[in-house]
Structure formats: C-alpha cells, structure tokens
Subunit: 574 residues, 2 copies
C-alpha cells in the first residue's frame, strides 16, 4: 500500500471525552471516529486491524471444525420471547418496530436465532455435533458507553454455538473451543490468561474467560504461579485457614471507640492489626407477606465481600443491602458499630471462613461509639454458619494446594460457556437419538469481542510515543520511510525496489510517499504503532545502508541495502 492511496489522519491531542489510553491513542491515530455515544466509524487504519483479528479468528475457528454462517442483525421478537430474554434483558436490548408495528431486537448475541436454525435443520443424532459461528455487528444499549471500543454500543463480535448429543459431547466441544481460543490469542501476540469464571444464573459445569493482561484492566485475575490454577476473582475460592482456631485468651470487653466507624480507624485507635477486626455487612431478602429477612455477613476487616459468592448462599439468592431503617430496627444502632453479639432482633449470621477461624476478635457492640474486643466463637456467641464470602487476596493459599495466589489485572475479550439445555429446553431444540427418541441438544457458546481486542491490545502495548502493535494484528507489518522520495532519484529507486521485494514476499508493507517531513513521518508511524520501520536516506545509501528500527528498539540498526528485505522478513517472523 502506498500512503498516498490510503487515508492517514493523526491528531496531536486526543478529544477530551477519551478517558483511557487505548481510546486516546486510537482517536489520535485515526483508527476510529466517533459517530454517536458508543458508536464509531472504523476508519481505514482501524479496519485493517479489525480484519486481521477477524482473519486469525476465522482460520482457527475453521481449523477447529466450526462452520461459518451469518445471522441477521435485526431479529424477530418472537424468538427472544421463547427464551424469556425479550423481557429479562431490559434496556440493554435495543428494540425496534417495523412499519407494521412488529417487534424486533437488534442482536446483542444470537443464541435464539442459531437455536432456531439448528432445531429446524438438525433432525438426527448423525448430524451432531455441529458448531456454527459468525462474525457480525452487535448492539448493546449500554447505560454508560465509554472507553471507545472497550465499552461501545455497536461492536463486532465472533460468536460460536456448539450443539451436542449429551453433556460429555458438549464438554468435548467446549474443550475444542478452549484450545482454539488459546491458539487465537497466541497468534494475536498478546499476553493473555484464561481463567475459570462464575457460571452465573445459568449454572452448568464450566465457563472460562479469556483476558488480555493489562495494568489498566477492569477485572482482577487470580492465578497460582506454581500451578495451572486461574480464575476470575468472582470465581476464585478463598480456602479456609489451615491452622486451627486459637483458644480464646481475652475476656469480652466493651470498649469506647467514639467516632470510629471503620475497621481501619478502630484498629488504629486500639493499636491492633486490622486483621484482628471483623466487619459486619447487613443484607436483606424480601419476602412476600412478611418483613424482609435480615442477614449479617462477617468478614475480616482487611477483606472484601464477594457479591457473587454471597448470592450463592442458600436463602441469599436475591439479596439486597439492608436499609438503614432495617439496620436500626434489628441492631438498635446505626452502621459502624454493628456486630453479632446482642442484636435487638434475631438475624441470620454467616461468617467468612477466615472469620470463623479467628479468636479474640474485635467487632461492633451494637451501641454507637462502642466495639467489643476479645470476642470469641462458642463462648460469646454461637458457632456461626460458615461460608466462603470474600475475594481472595494475593498470598492466599491456592485452592489446588500447590502454592499461593497472585493477582493481576485483565481485560475480558473472550468467554467460553457450557450452556447445557438452557436454550434448547425453552426452544424445544431436540434431535432423534439412535432409538428414535427426541432428546434435548446440549449447547455451548463461545464469544470473542473482535473490536474490544483492539482496545485491549493497546492497553497492553503502548509507550509515550503511541501504540506498539504485535506484528500479527498491526495495520501494516512494516513502513518504509524514504527521506525525499520525490527529490532523490536514488532514494526513490531503492525505496521502490525494497517495496516491491517485500510485497512479492507477501509482507504487508506501506510506503510513506506523502512527502511529509521526517519528524512528522516518524511521529505518525510511532503513534500508529507499525512494529517495523525502514528509513531510506541519501546519506545511508552512499554507504550502501538502510536503517531498520523495531518499534520497541532503543535505536536504529544499519543494514546493507541488499540484505534489508530478508532482515525485515526475519524480524517479522521473530
């Protein structure tokens, strides 16, 4: 490609609504252009990256035996009503009426449509398993679209759906997709991690998220450096302390803690470690024809509640945080001084595994400006119901017993999910088994956020000059920067020769023939993030040399003119 036949548009400053680095850099590099809230035009430079991402996904999906089709963007409401998602999905599902007043959804995913295709196309066990995918425009009417392509409303997603005869088959299809995802993210050239994820309300036996590692990631990824264990923090188990609970050593004593409503402040006042304190979190579960049921969850002062884990405690499935009125009614005091001892009305107490192993702990005394010290289970209050309630922290024991956990930040870009019969039941997607009996199909679904990959890749790979693309998904693999293409015959001749040689070898090369000054040219391509650059100048040519510089290289390398094509190819292949 010659730059003069392409469209390059860079900005010195990012627009003020760009909050994060990937959004800023994509806007500055002219890769996307905002059309409306969460809606972007993919400019030529951005579209090239999207196409490369799509092609890698397509190749690996095909290799894994998935078959590509294309489902419509505008989908009849009837199918969404069959699964109940028309009502459940709320305003995120963009709805539209046609000229006859019929309802349609603009697809955010396509479980309903693919299940409809398969239930009519697949009759027999002989046609299973089958895995269909498409790469298509999606729309989610996010409440607060932001971060450019990271949380847009219109985006491109690859979604695949497997259909199997039974759960064992589904698990096999799932594993094939998992392996394909590993190959896909490997080929992108991104650092990533697959983590076990929570299955949410769907249940089922398995779900993994694929995250691009980035310090700016929204998600906390838990992993064990000494083993294969890895999970989203929502799903990571905090194992019970291995040491038994120490015997009580202190007497229960009510202590004044005036104005100290937080564990940190109480610990400081009392000169105790934060890990000796216990915090009280009050939840409520609404009941028909009765007041809400009030629950008290107890966590160590330095730990955080894991809301997903809380929702899995029997009876807490539909919890909410208690109101101040409910708290005062049950505890006789306001938040900040709550505890399990001497509540005004009975509450259901659940202690985190760590808390259950504590002795001589500090907790609120249910009286304003007072805490207890020296509280002990079985003596001052009954032995509690125990559950895993907290987020793990770095240094916790790994659930597989093979070391301690570490935490890093990630950006979710893929998700594989064992759906079981969640959709096939509602939509009566059955096949006839060997004995001619109808059986529900077992489904899996597998998504990759194509456009999100761009944002995530940048969050992982940038410096103060701009983006640093991995070669596999760079808009161009190499840029040729001639110094005076229109002025110097020698420069033009050598540039054209190298350009032709690289093109002939299948290298995706752009020749910057715009006639810009070197400073502008270099700044543009560093901002855009092309990973390999060759400078062709008269001075170098006099010595028979061209200058190569990798985007991460601290300095340029002089390479003999005749060797440059091979040198570049070797660097691309590296």
């Amino acid at each position: 490609m010659r730059a003069s036949r392409f469209f390059i548009s860079t900005l010195k400053e990012a627009p003020s609504d760009a909050e994060i680095i990937s959004h800023k850099l994509m806007m500055r590099a002219g890769m996307i252009k905002r059309l409306g809230s969460g809606i972007y035009t993919y400019m030529p430079m951005g579209l090239r990256i999207i196409r490369k991402v799509e092609n890698i996904i397509r190749e690996e999906m095909n290799r894994a035996g998935a078959v590509e089709l294309l489902m419509p963007v505008v989908q009849p409401a009837e199918l969404w009503q069959e699964t109940g998602r028309w009502d459940k999905m709320g305003p995120e599902l963009m709805r539209v009426k046609d000229r006859h007043g019929r309802d349609y959804a603009i697809q955010p995913t396509s479980e309903e449509v693919i299940t409809d295709v398969v239930r009519t196309e697949v009759k027999s066990y002989r046609q299973l398993p089958i895995n269909f995918y498409h790469i298509q425009t999606k729309f989610r009417d996010e409440r607060r679209p932001r971060f450019g392509l990271m949380r847009g409303r219109e985006f491109t997603m690859k979604d695949a759906y497997s259909f199997d005869r039974d759960a064992a088959g589904m698990q096999q299809s799932y594993q094939i997709m998992y392996d394909a995802y590993v190959r896909i993210f490997d080929r992108f050239g991104l650092q990533f991690r697959a983590v076990a994820a929570d299955n949410g309300a769907i249940g089922g036996s398995g779900s993994h998220e694929f995250h691009v590692i980035a310090d700016t990631g929204e998600d906390a990824l838990v992993y064990c450096p000494d083993s294969d264990y890895a999970a989203n923090i929502e799903a990571a188990e905090a194992v019970a302390p291995s040491a038994p609970r120490a015997a009580a050593a202190q007497a229960l004593t009510k202590t004044p803690t005036p104005g100290k409503a937080k564990c940190e402040d109480v610990a400081k006042l009392l000169g105790l470690p934060l890990s000796q304190t216990v915090k009280s979190i009050v939840l409520a579960v609404d009941r028909e024809d009765a007041d809400a049921e009030v629950w008290l969850l107890m966590l160590r002062g330095d730990h955080d509640l894991n809301e997903v884990k809380a929702s899995k405690i029997p009876g807490l499935g539909a919890y909410r945080f208690a109101t101040e009125a409910e708290i005062v009614e049950h505890f006789g005091t306001r938040p900040g001084y709550l505890g399990p001892i001497g509540t005004k009305k009975p509450v259901k107490v659940v202690a985190d595994r760590t808390v259950a192993a504590m002795s001589d702990f500090v907790c609120g005394a249910n009286e304003e400006d007072f805490h207890y010290i020296g509280a002990n289970w079985g003596r001052d209050l009954p032995e509690p119901v125990v559950a895993d309630l907290r987020n793990v922290v770095a240094g916790d024991a790994s659930p597989d017993g093979k070391g301690v956990l570490a935490i890093q930040r990630g950006i979710e870009v893929g998700h594989v999910f064992q759906l079981g019969t969640r959709y096939s039941e509602d939509m009566k997607a059955t096949y006839l088994d060997e004995s001619g009996k109808p059986q529900l199909m077992q489904m899996g679904c597998y998504g990759i956020g194509v456009t999100r990959i761009l944002g995530a890749a940048i969050e992982q790979n940038f410096d103060d000059k701009g983006i640093i693309w991995p070669t596999a998904i760079a808009p161009f693999e190499v840029v040729l920067c001639p110094m005076g293409y229109d002025r110097s015959e020698a420069v033009k001749a050598e540039t054209d020769k190298l350009y032709a040689a690289l093109q002939a070898s299948g290298v995706d090369v752009i020749l910057d023939d715009r006639g810009e000054r070197p400073g502008v040219m270099f700044a543009d391509w560093e901002l855009i993030g092309v990973p390999h650059r060759v400078v062709i100048g008269e001075r170098g040519l006099k010595e028979g040399k061209l200058e190569y510089q990798g985007r991460r290289d601290p300095a340029a390398t002089a390479v003999a003119v005749a060797d440059m094509a091979d040198f570049v190819k070797a660097r691309i292949a590296a």
Copy 2:
C-alpha cells in the same frame, strides 16, 4: 473442505412462499434460511458465495484507489435530519430509539455519515479527491419484501462515496468507478449491461445502472446492437419520427364505438391498425387555493406512458392521475371516450412526438360510445405542445442515429451516480481551495447489492437440475465425488491424492465424504451448482481413469488419473 466438516442441507421442494426461481433454488440448496419477512440467515453454503462476491468487489475497489472503512449500522437521526432524509424517506427508513429516547436510523445507505466523516477529516484541496467505501449490512423496511435476497429487508451492500474539488473531478472519479464496475461484473462471470439511468429528483449530470441480464428481470433495458447506446427504459429517449407528418386525407367524423373503451377494441371495430389510434391519459396537478390543473397527454394506441418523462414536463413535476370526477368535469364523459377535441373545460394538451406526427388519427369524442376518425392537428384542433412521453419499443430508432433499438430484461445490481453538491450543500461539506476559500465538495456515490448478486446470478444461470454458478463466485470451484470413499482403499487413496493436489494449487475444492449414494451426491451438487465435478470410481480406476463433468456439459469426460488435476485447473481457468 471436506463435506463432513461443512454443513450441507438440501431440500427436494422449495417452500411455498418462494415465487421466483432464484429464491426457490437458494432455499433448496440450503444457501439461505428465512428468519422473518425479508430477513435471512446466510447459511454456510450461501455465505461462501457472498464472500467471493465481496472479495472481487474489494479487490477492484482497492485497485481503483478507493479506501475501505466501516460505518455503523445504527446512525444518529441528527445527520439524517441535516439532509432532510429523516422526513423524506418515509417508512422504508427503519427508525429506533435508544434507552434515552434518542432517535437513530438503521442505515439503508450512508451518504450522511460519510459526508460527516469527510467534512471533519478533509480540510484542504490537497486531500482531494478521496473515495471511501464499505461493505456493510443494510436495512430497508420494504413494504412488500419478497423474492428472497432479491428484495429483502436486511441485505449487504457495497457503497462507495467519492469527494472531489469540482465537477470535472467528480466526473473523473465517476468514470474510474464505472470502469471498476465493468471489471467487477466481468470477473463475476455474469452477462451484464451498463445502461444510462434517469437522475431522478437529484439532477446532476450522470447516472448508470449495472444490470445482470435475465429474462426474469424486472427492468427493461434498451440498447442499440450497432452502437454503444444503452439506457434504462425510463431514461431511453424515443426520438421523433423522421418522416414528416402526412397531409390530412380524411374528414373528421364522429363514429359510434359502443362499449369500445380501449384503443385495441376501437381499432378492431373500425378495421384500422392500432397505430392509427391515439389514447388520452388525464393527469392532474394540485394547486394551493384553486382546483387542480388538468392535463391531457396523448400517446399512440400501441405505446405506453413513461411516467418519468411525464414528470419532467414543466408544470407536471408533481402530477397525479386525475380522478373520475375531475375527468367528467373537464371532458363531460367518462374515461374510454376522451379526446382533445371539444372538451367541456379547457385542459393543457401535450402530444407525444409520435402522435404529433400523425394525421387522420382516431381519438375519443368526449361522448360515451363515440370516437372521432380522421382527426388532424392544425385543422380539427390546434398544433399541440410536443414532448417525448412514451417508452421506446424494439425497432425504434436509436437516439444516437446508429441503428434501431432492442430491448432485453435485466436485474439491477449496481448503480453509479453523480451527486454533485446534493449532500455537501445541506451538510456544509467544504474544503479550502488554493486561495484559501471554502468550496463545496462534489460527490459521487456507487452501490453494488452484494446479496442481490446471488439472486441475479441464479436467474441468469440455472437449469432443471439447479444452479450453475460461474466459477468465480461458486461456493466451491470443484467437487470430488468418490464412489465408496469408505469402502474402497483405491478410491479413497486416489480421491485424497487429487484433493491434496488441487488444494496445493489453490483450487477451492470440496470432497464429498458424506457417504451418500451417488444419485443423492450428484443431485445435491447439481442443485448447489458447483461448476466442475470429478467422479472417482473403482471401475474407472481399473482403466486408470477418472470422470470429469462440467456443470453445463452434456456428458462426462474420462481423463487419465495423473492428468486430472491439470485438466480441472485448465477448465477452471477457461
């Protein structure tokens, strides 16, 4: 591709809602699947064809210097309001509100968005010309979606938009696109014709439609076999008869024609050629604060009104057909016996060029059951206003004076259009010229109906067995049909060898390893329309032969095993 890893689903009968052959065959061949009215899932077999069509378009657009980007499906109403199309487009424009009640259009085309991109990105004459295109999902809420992909609601379109400094530049960009379209349709391997089209309300200096030739086409294409002249029938000029009007020979005579309200019946009754009769078409133009103005258009009995030409007559821009009440009021009688002589109230008369050259003609007498014979201009009624009002017919003189016209049917699949400043004016899309003055950009737009190509290609290429794809856009170039792939070692070995050899040569080959009976296999691939087939059987192998058959060949050709790969490649290249 192995058939066992693909998805093949054929039907013996087309669903009853499929009216035309291309729709029936695409449904039967498992290429598309109906999701809703005018909304189809592109099944794997259909998607392969779409991708091949897209790739040819993409290559030729890029070669012509157009730059690909991707504009959103969901577009803010504000831009559509700037050009007035939000109001003008009516219910065909699918509209949707987001969670905040803001209005959006689901794009039917993207003039507004691209003009918005360019007016902010392009500042200087140095950046022009530029031509952007995208291949994207479109939606038009057709009143009566039908014919499968031919008139769907959701479809895929390639739309390109050129921006130039001035009209001369626009015409140059237009010619580049015209030439690219010729290459694209040539590469598809379809018989096509580019015809001059009417510019509609936009005006401007040029517009051509690209039609795939098919007897079942909706459009009539006019061309001169002896010259380059070609036009849509809407735009084809009917030149005035070259012979001067003959002198009046008959007296004007009112003749009873009881119950004969049609020219055909009157001519028969009177024993005159139909070409001696004149029909009267009554139009009305509404006026503010006054009754509608009534016009009488006169055409020869065997000619048809061209409504586009009528709308271009000064004063008739917004005509409608007159009501029966208006007709009775002005002519004193009901339709069937109307004429220009002795109307009850004055009407504006326009005669078609052919009619203006007639003498001794027959027309209605403005009295029920009576016509005049022997009517003559300048004697029985004033010389008329003359205009080209009719559709041309085969045998008419070509407007370029180089022969006579022929007519064939076509399916419109592409349109190139000189827009001028239609959009840049409304949206203030200006650039700074050499002297720093803002100037309006001159635009062109260029569409190809990607999914429509499939329907059109089939309407042109089918037989009683199914579809016959041109090789360039066939879902597969060649199918290998082994007789007993799983039973015969020899068959399997030779099939695998040929499969590998063809794949290594870049041939898009499918190996039918489904284990179907030969009859089923052949019927499927003839229906699907793969253009080249090789049968590998034990009987042939004993003589060292395989069987090749082109989809249009009346019989198979025996080819030596070792020669088959080259033979197939030669046939594909032919």
